[in-house]
């Protein structure tokens, strides 16, 4: 009898004016009657849905971590071997008065330098990178809103074709810039000494 009474008393403490009680106030329960607290909000789509697809998931330890560990190990060994056997390039001290036979940008910018040979610098040095970065990359997910569910390349042929075209174009100018440009940034054939008019050799440094 006494137990019931105390429990009843603990449930009635609601400091809200009864005339102004909303639906949420009616659902309120005093802390003493609630042996739990809010620890996290879980949006249904924001976490891996273990309950809906029970067979679709595997434990991170060991399945994912072992792969990551292996990949990092292979990469470490590769870097160690590279570092042991191939020295990083280092030429003479920088000299602003001595122009080298060919001056090239790092390979990831050589595509742009290659474009300088074809177009006005404003186009190749400013417009193209700007369009590539802004149009091709930043805005891409906001342009391509045709079918959010289409993930396979075969289901979104136009996008894949356009993107591949841009990639191939970029790769081609980079490739030409890296391997086929020699002294004075003229066209050369790499490693083919039997053409008299062309200089042979690889004229790039990583």
């Amino acid at each position: 009898m006494t137990d019931q009474k105390t429990e009843k008393e603990s449930r009635v403490v609601l400091p809200v004016d009864p005339t102004r009680r909303t639906e949420i106030d009616k659902q309120r329960v005093p802390m003493s009657a609630r042996p739990y607290r809010l620890l996290a909000m879980v949006k249904q789509d924001a976490v891996v849905r273990v309950q809906k697809e029970p067979d679709d998931t595997v434990m991170t330890w060991p399945h994912l971590l072992s792969i990551e560990f292996l990949a990092a190990t292979v990469m470490s060994i590769f870097l160690l071997l590279m570092g042991l056997f191939i020295n990083a390039p280092l030429e003479e001290l920088a000299n602003g008065n001595l122009t080298p036979p060919v001056a090239k940008a790092p390979w990831y910018l050589l595509g742009l330098q290659e474009l300088l040979a074809y177009f006005h610098p404003v186009i190749s040095g400013v417009l193209v990178p700007f369009l590539y970065i802004l149009g091709g990359a930043f805005v891409l997910p906001f342009i391509d809103r045709a079918n959010p569910e289409a993930k396979k390349p075969s289901e979104r042929k136009t996008t894949v074709l356009l993107f591949s075209l841009f990639c191939i174009l970029g790769l081609m100018v980079t490739f030409v810039g890296v391997f086929f440009r020699g002294p004075g940034y003229s066209i050369v054939t790499p490693l083919l000494p039997f053409f008299d008019n062309f200089t042979s050799g690889l004229h790039f440094a990583l």
């Binding site: 990949a71 470490s76 870097l79 920088a94 000299n95 001595l98 001056a103 400013v126 990359a137």
Partner: protein, 242 residues
């Protein structure tokens, strides 16, 4: 019980060991979940991941390896910083001295150089992988944008590091970059004086590129990396399956 087993037991029961490792070696599902959840480095990961996400042929570990290379470059870069002064009069001789006199200096510089090229390459590849899997589609649009920023930061990091040896390759490569920037309409002079510190590559450029390379860009990159990883979790884990 052999002597070694007893030593092993004693170590594992010692207060020091138990303060270091909260859980025993994870063998069952519960302890494996705790192992990921309770570790500050591993808790980037969810406790469970979807089956297709752990297939090597889906991600080729490109993003993870890019991050790993970032870590390798941080470690090797910090070591190189001890022996390098960003001054036009001493930078080049510092590099020579790193290669000749510093313990493990040559291999550290080699790894730093090759790792940097590999990182740019891997970030490119990672971007292409993400595109072909349609992983930039909702709800992951913003994480794609963060990724593009990270690509730009990676290129900027590599480009600023390129000048630091102060040899002919780096000097003329950066000079080309400076010339390209000079064709930017309207803001060419501000860009030149802000980033390159003048109209030609010199002491100002070297110092600016050094500060950008060792401090500004790595910090910004680290922040964007944190957002990038966080968003993967918040957007429902890795994309796919196709």
């Amino acid at each position: 019980m052999s002597f070694l087993e007893r030593v092993d037991q004693a170590i594992r029961r010692s207060p020091a060991w138990r303060s270091l490792f909260r859980n025993p070696y994870p063998n069952d599902e519960r302890s494996r979940a705790y192992a990921v959840m309770n570790n500050v480095f591993l808790h980037l990961h969810p406790v469970r991941v979807r089956q297709h996400a752990v297939k090597f042929a889906y991600t080729f570990c490109l993003g993870g390896l890019s991050f790993f290379l970032f870590l390798v470059l941080t470690v090797t870069g910090v070591y190189l910083m001890f022996f390098y002064i960003p001054s036009t009069t001493s930078a080049y001789s510092d590099i020579l001295s790193i290669q000749a006199n510093v313990a493990f200096g040559l291999i550290t510089r080699n790894i730093h150089r090759w790792g940097a090229h590999l990182m740019v390459f891997f970030v490119f590849l990672h971007m292409m992988r993400v595109f072909y899997h349609g992983a930039y589609k909702p709800p992951r649009e913003f994480n794609w944008v963060v990724g593009v920023f990270l690509l730009l930061f990676t290129i900027a990091l590599s480009f600023t590091g390129y000048l630091l040896p102060w040899d002919q390759i780096s000097y003329w490569a950066i000079t080309i970059g400076l010339n390209m920037a000079s064709y930017t309409p309207v803001i060419n002079t501000p860009i030149q004086s802000l980033i390159f510190g003048g109209i030609e590559v010199g002491q100002n450029t070297l110092l600016r590129f050094y500060v950008l390379h060792i401090m500004v860009l790595p910090l910004i990159t680290a922040i964007f990396l944190a957002v990038h990883f966080w968003r993967i979790r918040k957007d429902g884990g890795i994309s796919g399956p196709l």
